[in-house]
C-alpha cells in the first residue's frame, strides 16, 4: 500500500507546505462579510420575535432563537474563514488556499491567465478593500482572492498581468 511513504515526500500538512510564504487578506474582510449576513439574520430574528410576541405562543420563539444562534455561529465562523484565506506568489504560479472544513488549494500558472478582474462593491470600497479574480480558459478554476487592500489588489493585478504576459502560452 502507498501508506508506507517512500523517500520523496513533502512532510506535514499538504495544504501548508514548508518554504512557502503565505500572504493573508485584510482582517477588514470579516466586517465586509459579517455586515450583510448579520443584517439579514438580525432582521429575520427581529421579525421572528415580533411574530412570537404577537401570537403569544411559546413555541414560536424557536424561530428568533434559531436566528440568534445562527448569528453567533457566523460571528465565530467568518473570522476563522477569513483567516484561512491565503495566497502565495511563486516564481511561475500563484497559489490560493481557502476553507477550514472543506479546504481547497488552487495553483494558477501565470502563463495560463486569460484576464484579471478587480471588483469593488459599495461596502468593500468603504472599507478600502477589493477582490481580485483570475480567469483561465477553464471554468473550473476558482481563483479569486477576496478582501485585498485596494492598493495591494491593484499592484497584484498589474504584477500578475505583467508576469502573465511574459509567460503567455496558447491554450
Amino acid at each position: 500500500m502507498t501508506d508506507d511513504a517512500p523517500a520523496v515526500r513533502a512532510p506535514g500538512d499538504p495544504f501548508d507546505p514548508p518554504g512557502l510564504e503565505w500572504s493573508r487578506v485584510s482582517g477588514k474582510l470579516v466586517t465586509a462579510r459579517l455586515v450583510p449576513s448579520l443584517t439579514t439574520v438580525g432582521l429575520l430574528a427581529v421579525v421572528g420575535a415580533v411574530v412570537a410576541l404577537a401570537t403569544g405562543a411559546a413555541w414560536v420563539w424557536v424561530f428568533p432563537a434559531f436566528f440568534v444562534l445562527l448569528a453567533l455561529w457566523l460571528l465565530w465562523l467568518v473570522p476563522r474563514q477569513v483567516h484561512a484565506i491565503g495566497y502565495a506568489e511563486r516564481a511561475d504560479d500563484l497559489l490560493i488556499r481557502k476553507g477550514i472544513m472543506f479546504r481547497t488549494l488552487v495553483v494558477v500558472p501565470y502563463g495560463r491567465m486569460q484576464y484579471l478582474d478587480v471588483q469593488r462593491g459599495p461596502l468593500t470600497r468603504a472599507l478600502g478593500l477589493a477582490s481580485l479574480q483570475l480567469h483561465t480558459a477553464s471554468a473550473g478554476t476558482d481563483a479569486s482572492i477576496d478582501g485585498l487592500p485596494a492598493e495591494v489588489a491593484e499592484r497584484l493585478r498589474d504584477q500578475l498581468a505583467a508576469r502573465g504576459e511574459a509567460r503567455l502560452a496558447g491554450l
Binding site: D93, M101, V107, G140, L171
Partner: protein, 512 residues
C-alpha cells in the same frame, strides 16, 4: 460590395475595405427559416379554422382569399427582410483571420484569428442537405458563442473554404503540396505537432498552386458499424429506464382499465426517447481519419457533420466503459476542445471521438490525440489504466483507507505520470480513464473535506477547458496528492514552454 442601406455604421465596426467580401448562398434564409415559416403558416391556418365555431373547414373555405392573402403578406415581409439580411451577410478571409459580417439594424462584424482556431466543422442539417448546402463553423476559444458560422454555402465551396482555412491556420501561406501523412501506425512516436519536417521533406503529389485546391490527404482509421451503434444504444441505463417506463405505463393502463393513463407517460417517453435518438442520430455512420490538418470526424444521420480538430487542440481525453458494455469490451471516447464547451453541455456531446468501439479502436482514438504517450510501453500502461487496479510501478493508487469514502471503486482510483501526460484512472462499475497532456493543463487544485482530512486523504483536480471531461483523482494519500500537485505544475510549465501547436505546419523558425 456595399450594403446599399443608409444605416450609418458605428465607428470601428466598419471593415477594412481591402477585404474581399463574399456573400453566402441566396437560399440561406429559406434553409435557416423554413421551420419558423411553417409554424407561422400552420398557426395562422389553425387559428382561422378555430374561429369558425366548430365548422372551421367551411369558415376557412369562405375566407380562403383572406387566408391566402395573409400568408402571402407574411411571405412577402419575411422574404424582403431575409433578402436584405442576406445582402449584408458576407464573409472574407485575410492572412490572419476570417471575418463575418451580418445584421441590418444591429450590425455585427466578427473576426476570428486563424492561429486561435480550435476546430472547424462542416455542418449539414437536413434542410440544407436537400439544397446541397453546408455551413462552415469555425470554433475559437473565446467562450460561449464565440465561433464564426459561415453559411450556407454550396457543399463544394464549404469544402474548399475549410481546406483553405486549415491550410492558412497551419501556417502554409501559399501551399503547393498537400503534405504527406506523416504518421502511419499507432505508437510509432511521430507527433503531428512536429510535422513541418515531414511536410517539407515528403513532397506530396503536386497540386494546383491555389489555396483552394489543397485538401490535405487523409488516412481512415476506424468507423462505427450501425449494428454496434444500435446495440450499444440499447445497452445504456437510459434505454433500460425507457423500457421500464413503457412497461410501467402499460401495467398502469391495464390496472386502471383506461388507455388515458398512457398519456401521462408521454412527456417522460419523449424526453428519454429523444435523448437516446439524439445520441444515435449524432453518432450514426461515425468515421474517423487522420490527416496533417488534424483529426477528421464525420458523423450524423439527419444532420451530418464533418469536424476537423487540428493537432494539439484537444485539451483532455476520456475513455469510459459503462457497466453494460464490459461484456462486449466496448469503450466510448470523449474529448474537451476549447470553444465547444457550452454546446457539449447543452445539446449532448459534440466532442465524441468514438461513440462506441473496441478497445483497440479506443486506444487508436487516444493515439490520435496523443501520438506519443511518453512511455516506453504504452500498451502495457494503457492495459493497466483501463482494467487494472491497485498500486504498481506506473500507477500511484489511492490508499486502502480510502475505502471508507469510495467502498466500491477505491482500488481503481489512481494516477500515472508519463513524460507527456497524466493518466487519471477511476471507477470500478463504470470504468473511466482521463488523459491530459502536460502542456494542456490550465490550473491545478487540491480539495479536502472533513472526512478526507481525518483519513489523511485529498483529491487532486486538474482544471481543463469547459467540456464533458473533468479530470480528477479522488481520495489520494494527502502527501501523494501534494507531491503530484507540485511536480505537475513544474511539468506543465516545461511542456508549455516547448509547445508549438499554434501554427502547426509552419517551421519553428518562421514564427513571429
Amino acid at each position: 460590395m456595399s450594403d446599399g442601406l443608409p444605416v450609418p455604421a458605428p465607428g470601428g465596426a466598419t471593415a477594412p475595405s481591402s477585404l474581399a467580401w463574399q456573400r453566402v448562398h441566396p437560399v440561406t434564409p429559406l434553409v435557416k427559416g423554413w421551420l419558423v415559416l411553417v409554424v407561422v403558416v400552420l398557426g395562422l391556418l389553425r387559428s382561422t379554422a378555430e374561429q369558425g365555431d366548430g365548422d372551421g373547414a367551411r369558415f376557412a373555405l369562405h375566407h380562403l382569399a383572406w387566408v391566402l392573402l395573409g400568408i402571402a403578406a407574411i411571405v412577402v415581409v419575411a422574404g424582403t427582410y431575409s433578402w436584405l439580411a442576406w445582402r449584408v451577410t458576407a464573409y472574407a478571409i485575410d492572412p490572419d483571420a476570417v471575418h463575418m459580417r451580418s445584421g441590418i439594424l444591429f450590425k455585427q462584424h466578427r473576426k476570428a484569428r486563424l492561429d486561435r482556431i480550435q476546430a472547424i466543422e462542416v455542418r449539414q442539417p437536413l434542410a440544407a442537405r436537400l439544397f446541397g448546402l453546408a455551413e462552415v463553423k469555425v470554433e475559437v476559444a473565446g467562450g460561449d458563442g464565440s465561433g464564426v458560422s459561415i453559411g450556407y454555402l454550396t457543399e463544394r465551396t464549404a469544402q474548399e473554404l475549410r481546406a483553405d482555412l486549415l491550410a492558412r491556420a497551419a501556417g502554409l501561406g501559399a501551399p503547393s503540396s498537400g503534405g504527406k501523412q506523416p504518421v502511419a501506425a499507432p505508437a510509432d512516436g511521430t507527433d503531428p505537432k512536429h510535422a513541418p519536417d515531414a511536410v517539407t521533406s515528403a513532397a506530396g503529389p503536386g497540386r494546383a498552386p491555389t489555396l483552394h485546391a489543397t485538401e490535405a490527404p487523409e488516412q481512415p482509421l476506424f468507423e462505427v458499424p450501425s449494428g454496434r451503434l444500435v446495440a450499444s444504444t440499447f445497452l445504456t441505463v437510459e434505454a433500460w429506464v425507457l423500457v421500464l417506463v413503457v412497461a410501467g405505463a402499460v401495467v398502469a393502463a391495464a390496472a386502471a382499465r383506461t388507455p388515458a393513463v398512457l398519456f401521462s407517460f408521454v412527456p417522460v417517453l419523449i424526453g428519454l426517447g429523444s435523448a437516446l435518438f439524439g445520441r444515435f442520430n449524432r453518432s450514426f455512420a461515425f468515421r474517423a481519419a487522420t490527416s496533417p490538418d488534424g483529426i477528421r470526424l464525420r458523423h450524423g444521420l439527419t444532420e451530418t457533420r464533418a469536424q476537423t480538430i487540428p493537432p494539439g487542440r484537444v485539451q483532455a481525453v476520456e475513455l469510459v466503459q459503462p457497466f453494460l458494455w464490459r461484456r462486449f469490451g466496448w469503450w466510448r471516447v470523449h474529448v474537451n476542445v476549447a470553444g465547444y464547451g457550452r454546446e457539449a453541455n447543452g445539446k449532448g456531446p459534440t466532442t465524441v471521438l468514438l461513440p462506441v468501439g473496441s478497445r483497440a479502436e479506443a486506444t487508436t482514438a487516444l493515439w490520435l490525440v496523443l501520438p506519443d504517450l511518453g512511455t516506453a510501453d504504452p500498451l502495457a500502461l494503457l492495459g493497466e489504466a483501463l482494467d487494472g487496479s491497485g498500486p504498481s510501478d506506473a500507477f500511484t493508487a489511492a490508499p486502502r483507507r480510502s475505502r471508507w469514502l469510495d467502498p466500491v471503486g477505491w482500488r481503481r482510483n489512481g494516477y500515472a505520470v508519463t513524460a507527456r501526460a497524466v493518466l487519471a484512472r477511476s471507477g470500478r462499475v463504470r470504468r473511466r480513464l482521463v488523459v491530459v497532456p502536460h502542456e494542456r493543463t490550465q490550473s491545478l487544485g487540491l480539495e479536502q473535506g472533513p472526512l478526507q482530512r481525518r483519513l489523511g486523504l485529498a483529491s487532486f483536480v486538474l482544471h481543463s477547458t469547459p467540456g464533458s471531461v473533468h479530470p480528477e483523482v479522488p481520495h489520494l494519500d494527502a502527501r501523494d496528492a501534494r507531491v503530484l500537485l507540485d511536480e505537475q505544475s513544474v511539468r506543465a510549465r516545461e511542456a508549455r514552454s516547448q509547445d508549438l501547436s499554434e501554427r502547426w505546419l509552419q517551421p519553428p523558425g518562421a514564427r513571429a
